[in-house]
Amino acid sequence: MKHLKFIFSLYSKNWLSAILLIFVTSVSLFTLTNAIGKYQFYHYSLDLFSSTKLNDHDVYFMPFVSEDQRKDPESNYLSMEQATSNAVQQIKNTAGVEAVIQSPFLISGEYKGNSLLMAIYDRELNEKFSLPLETGTWFRNTAKTKNAEAIAGGYSFQNVQVGSAIHVEYKKGNGITKEIDLKIVGKLKDPSAFPNFSLSGTTIFADDIWKWQDVLILNQKNLPDDVGKDAQVSGSNFFISIRSQANYDAAVRSIEQFGTVKPYRKILSDSSINAENKIRQNLPIPLFFLFISSMTQLSVSVLFVNKKIPEFGIYYLYGCTKFRYFCSLMICITALALVSVLINFVMVVECPALLHYGILNLGHVVFDCRQIFSFVLPYEIISLLCSILFCFSIFRKKTPIELYRRLES
């Protein structure tokens, strides 16, 4: 206890630099964490995409009509619902096409006073897009049940247990409030995402076909019919399954008359390249910050030791050995680094909540403690060791007797 008190007393006259060091290190570590989080986000979206049961015969399809054009009241294009359903029909009639996987229909509702999104999974989506679950299972019930099955995803549902029933409200177009009771059969792995196909560009990456937000995925099979009618189309593009490799080229050629096609494999390979590019673009900033933080670490440590060397002469007189004093100083410096790492750790652990409440806005990130700390800890250890070695080289040369003489004169 008194040893700790003694070590703590060494911070006096050094508080400002200590706070500066903690601040700079925390900011740098968080920049690093964020870059790793971004990188992991691209990898995670790619993993999600690979976890779908899409395969080489599947293509992403974008009809020629853009959504902006469709929304233009002057134009005499069809409504999005109409256009999409026509396109789906047309594609389904094409030879060689096995199935059309449409973007899920959406309903915005309310759960415990918070707005939420419900996405309806039809048979095709259920078959191809059963995303990784934290707990529970994907929909197996095909008959209508009292409570429709639902999979919950995201921070809003963190306290909802698998097997429990929840009550959701939503407003119909005519303003009437409707209620549904749902039975949670599974929970999505974090971060929560569900398929949404509404891209208009020609380069499509895995992260684009996911909507990253809290969601209730509903099983269309046992959803009351009227609920399905209240849902809205969420994207006018879709995936198309082609029956076999033999039909592939012919089928693609004929559907390309209605729009643009992007093969599954191409999306996969483009996304990998995109992930690598993104990390390359994102890396310079954290590296710069880490450099600054290492320099701060070094200069604050040296400043710390230099400021405390004159006092060493006094402590030495009364029985403090050189080794002990140096160790005490280094514990002070290590503690500052530890505090920064701890701040970083708390940020990472609390990130889902901070993001949910809008306290932090980091764009898309996936934080995995183990991954992050396999970068943060070695960095901190190396940076700290360098500072300690440098301080040692300064402190080593000081003899107490020389300090008395300097102070005497």
């Binding site: 008194k2 007393s9 402590y315 030495y316 403090c320 005497e408």
Partner: protein, 220 residues
């Protein structure tokens, strides 16, 4: 009891040798009061530093209570300084921004004194040095005489057998000097051995024995 036999101390600076102590032999018995005098540069501080185990010597033997100090490890030397020796130096030796109490209890951080005893012991030492009323003040708000009292309180906190003082009254006026010397004398009367380096003949007048150094040698 302290014995020095044929101590030599050589400083090397910029390739030049300088003999700071030459063949110094000295016996200091328990309860003694010795004043060390001599011109500036005569080697007084050097001798005191060697006695205190904060500087080393080149040849000769230094025995503290019949143990050869040369055989001590760093740790044992630190223990010697902590428990057997109290230092009072001219005026720099307080940690200025810390409280008087912290300064007085500083030696207790480096031995096995339980944390809860530290404050009472420090207050007691400050009382013996008649400065306990200033315990909470930062050291840099004290006058020269008060600072020296705090240094004395710190020196006696571990009941040392020897107090080594280097110009303890060097920056004090005559009246305050006399008060500090009275305080040191009273400690000597309680059995603590006193070695005081001083320029001041009045201060030296308190001593049982005066040793004069010239160019690193003791004048007999």
């Amino acid at each position: 009891m302290i014995t020095l036999e044929h101590i030599y101390k050589i400083y090397y600076s910029h390739g030049v040798e300088f003999q700071a102590l030459k063949d110094v032999s000295l016996t200091i018995s328990d309860g003694d009061f010795i004043a060390i005098q001599g011109k500036s540069g005569a080697g007084k501080s050097t001798l005191l530093h060697i006695l205190g185990g904060i500087d080393d010597y080149d040849t000769g033997t230094y025995r503290f209570n019949d143990t050869n100090v040369a055989d001590f490890t760093n740790h044992q030397l630190a223990k010697l300084r902590n428990s057997e020796i109290g230092f009072v130096l001219q005026d720099f030796s307080l940690i200025n921004h810390k409280s008087v109490l912290f300064n007085a209890m500083l030696p207790l951080y480096f031995n096995k004194t339980p944390a809860k005893d530290m404050k009472p012991m420090a207050l007691n030492a400050l009382r013996l040095a008649r400065i306990e009323d200033q315990a909470k003040k930062p050291a840099n708000q004290l006058s020269g005489g008060q600072r020296q009292r705090v240094a004395i309180a710190r020196a006696i906190i571990n009941n040392p057998s020897v107090i080594l003082a280097d110009e303890p009254t060097g920056s004090l006026d005559t009246e305050t000097s006399a008060q500090i010397m009275d305080l040191l004398m009273s400690l000597n009367k309680q059995g603590i051995t006193l070695v005081v380096v001083t320029h001041d003949n009045t201060v030296a007048g308190y001593a049982h024995r005066i040793i004069t150094l010239r160019d690193g040698e003791i004048l007999s």
